[in-house]
Symmetry: D2
Subunit: 340 residues, 4 copies
């Protein structure tokens, strides 16, 4: 059955599997201290134009979020996120389980606005009782957001500048980073992230890898971050499996190329749907499209295609997420269009 | 370079990689709700002779330990382990990070003795101040232990019976379970574990898989365990990768066969070393052998083979761990012997 | 300097101090296992018409909230509160520090509405992804709320009934309980709370005691709650100091009488201010009054009286909290009125 | 009934209660921001000869321990304690509940030995796997220890010097500090503690106060420690009650004087018991004496006096703790002796 339900329904780019087979029986040291991981780290540093960056490979996004925040926040600090942020709603309280509050601000189209952030921070420090409250310690953004939207470089810079003024860390969740950077609407590049953030990660799970997120600390990792990774159950014994995937993705621009492919298909889908008069819930320039379908359209479509119902509207219609990925084919997009 | 440093230096059994390649582009639902996971669960239930068991697939051992204990312990409870238990010393405080104390008892050859457990429990409840102390909530054993040793069925039964008397859960960490079950000295079988434990896991990472541990609750999983797994960052997006590995390992007795192979090689190594007069630190009937080497022997060996120095003795000698795995070859064992 | 800044600016009702002096050198067992605590528990059970209730004495409100929630919530559960709830904003993340999320719903005048709660719960369970989200485990209300408002018995009953339908615990923070029960607008009595809640506490710190909150589990306390209290650093060594205070307050209706006194003064203040044309931010029938003052009025008043600025409005005016307590005198109220 | 069961069976020094009554109805700001607290802090700084010290008042010992450790340890760090340390066994896992491991070393007579500490630290950092282990972040000592014993200045200095070498904080739990400093065997003074420790506290609960521990950071408190105190439910609303007690105790040498009184009685008791041939479990120079009694002696004594049975020996005898306090009278000691 055809599926546009998400961007993690299939395995890995074939180049990864092939290399995995080649190296399968070569003995490697554990825990990421192998030459393939070293090579992958070097390539990521180069891609970020950040030769001093410290790079760690974790398995998944929720794990990366909780591990990073646990290492970066002091015991009395919380993390600020848009109310739609993944850590705020869809990680089963992973951040709170490490003892930290997720402080939510209303987002717009999935994005945190610098103006809202500034208002919150000003009001926090103006409150006589703020020593009785969770101290904001870090800002969490996702890029692209959970709604497929992007921050412009100017928007990111404004937020980063607020973070510096208020001594907050800036953390970008890049679970779908490739699909953001590859969008024609995007004016942010990897070196920009490295310049603006204290930590971000480059998503593999949704962008060509079987699993894996490359966590980048452009300046300095928190002390003993390796131990924190272990403590969070996030240290893969056969760490070279992660290194191998990122090393492959960051060779000859593969990560960028497969991301571009996915975005092109998504935008093609968007164009054709718009041409046929479909309404969009949100204007997404990346690999996830949120289209509004009537109950009848949804019923009919669901017989042939797996999609994610994002939200049911009060008028009976539904917001449906259609996600493309590195593995989506032109033929699949055509098959989908034929059903709509 | 030859390595006997551990049992997780290589990839996966080729049958796994082959099947991964075959299914690579087939679209699957996420988070373990796919048909391959269902099939793997069914095969594990059958192998455990426990049709009601609930089975979950996690990525690694430290992760599995913290997730299981967090779900099974009440806020005021701790877990009892031998002082050499993996959770007590080598998981960077993962259990404490979830708020629970690891209560250590002196072990013998890596094993918790029923007599010590009983003495501790009797003394705990006899202490007038025990309401000011961490309540024991669960017993953690590893099988085989960190020293390669095994509990007999009688020993396990004695511990399980104490657990029931004192209303403690019994949890067996089976990161190397295959290598235990496959030992000629072992009189415990999977259905015994299912009958005696509240939860245990079947290790994949060290026994033929790229990664993965199959967590088995023979009777009933803790409520909302899926959510706890997510909260601990232990829910693999592409859960079918875990299902596929265990489904393959539990087809046609592969798991047992490759485990037996590793143990046979280890026992061959043990026999030859003993014949040559080497002393053993501990008598292990499984895939890990702990041999005592002089400083000179160790220096010479280390030039050609990677081994793990387990402990340095006061007389200058060292305890060296030699681990075989499903992937070790006869040739490698011979090469090692040629160097000793 | 005159102060209406809060209801915890003074010591204890003189009857308490007197008795403390009398018993000062009598030797008592520690940790609340003394006869005075037993007597106090008995009196509270009688006042709640709940002979089976289990009663514990803790020192303060934030401590009580975190201890209770840590004992009542399972690891994957969070607590629902109005966004203005004390645990949501003014306890420095004490609940999150125990690993649990505070799930906030928009409140109205400090109150959680049954309709909002029902909508949230229905939508939570309708969401296909709810297993990836923090499970609601308990509802937290404050009575009176942080804004001095009260739930009617009908409102409480509606919420309690939703809690039962959705298997949620119901927890009422009664840090100012006396001032709620004593309000002429209140149709809830202690036995109603005992019938409707799973746990609530009777505030002492703000209502006649030096410190102390009496936590009541009308049916059954969580297992080993004593140990949880110890774990949270909330077990007073000289527990009889808590017992003595509640025993005194629950003798001859003292708690009710001193609460009534405070509320009468507050309502007198409200009446006189209203008569002089002052605007109120919220209509509070209890001991806290929230009056809107011009910048000039506030400046002038602040020279002579300590008040709490609750919020600064955009038009330059300020919401000022005026709190009476068991210790406030008619003369103080007159002095305040003379300044306004 | 006569009780030597502990040193917290009675209220407060009468000077405290008297002053509490005098100030009972004076309005004070909350949370320790009042003039009495300021005065008490100043007096403590003077007594410590440490004008820069930051001083906080908490309610009890377990609370102080967990709050301090939570503020001082990084997420991946644990605290080292003697296996008999209070945090290791008698605080219901309060430290672990904040996510940190208590790393226990075997103590001698309740004391951690510098040699054991050094051996542990050397071996920790020599272990290739130490990045997989809980990093030691702080050393916890109690002074006097749980067994009434004392560290000499030389011993404390040796430990402090190891702490500096290995970048560990040094924390002294002084729940019974007065009874240590007042011992004729003690060559440590408050300014020594201030010079050697990163944090310590001066116990009030057991030494003349109703409750309260004065936490002293001789150099610098952890950032936002006030917020951490609030987060741990350890911030007393009427903080002036704590200030008042310590202000009184640190006026005209009251704390030292009442401590001396208790120790003198304890040593008198020790002398007389020794003269009568009683055996001591441990040689304690402070207010707690651990005497070995036959089963018959214990039975007979228990009819008339409350004592704490510390441990039952295998030969049927029992170790009994006899504690004096600031409130113990000569007459009580004589009454006890008459029964032995």
């Amino acid at each position: 059955m055809l599926s546009f339900a998400s961007d993690y329904t299939q395995g890995a780019h074939p180049a990864i599997l092939e290399r995995m087979s080649q190296l399968n029986l070569v003995q490697q040291p554990g825990y990421g201290e192998d030459p393939i991981c070293r090579s992958a780290r070097e390539k990521i540093r180069a891609a970020c134009a950040c030769p001093e960056a410290e790079v760690f490979f974790l398995v998944g996004g929720t794990q990366a979020n909780a591990t990073i925040l646990s290492a970066c926040l002091r015991n009395y600090e919380g993390v600020i996120a848009a109310h739609t942020g993944h850590i705020a709603g869809h990680e089963a309280g992973a951040v709170e389980a490490t003892g930290h509050k997720v402080i939510t601000l209303p987002g717009e189209n999935g994005k945190l606005r610098a103006a809202d952030l500034e208002a919150y921070l000003a009001s926090f420090y103006a409150d006589d009782a703020h020593d009785h409250m969770v101290r904001p310690g870090m800002v969490y953004l996702s890029f692209p957001t959970e709604y497929g939207t992007l921050y412009s470089r100017a928007e990111l810079t404004a937020i980063a500048s607020l973070c510096r003024r208020y001594e907050l860390g800036l953390f970008v969740d890049g679970a779908r980073l490739g699909y953001g950077l590859a969008s024609p609407s995007c004016d942010v590049k990897l070196p920009d992230l490295a310049a603006l953030c204290d930590v971000f990660y480059i998503g593999g799970t949704k962008v060509g890898a079987l699993f894996g997120e490359a966590v980048v600390f452009p300046r300095k990792a928190p002390q003993c971050f390796f131990t924190t990774v272990k403590q969070h159950g996030a240290l893969l014994a056969k760490g070279w499996l992660l290194g191998l995937q990122f090393d492959t993705l960051f060779t000859d621009g593969l990560y960028a190329a497969i991301s571009r492919h996915a975005v092109e298909l998504a935008l093609q889908l968007r164009g054709e749907l718009a041409a046929r008069g479909y309404e969009f819930y949100i204007d997404s320039p990346t690999n996830q499209q949120f289209v509004v379908l009537s109950a009848e359209d949804l019923r009919r479509l669901s017989e042939k295609v797996e999609v994610t119902v994002w939200e049911r509207l009060e008028d009976g219609r539904a917001v449906v997420r259609l996600a493309t990925s590195w593995a989506t084919t032109h033929k699949q997009v055509e098959a989908l269009m034929a059903l709509l």
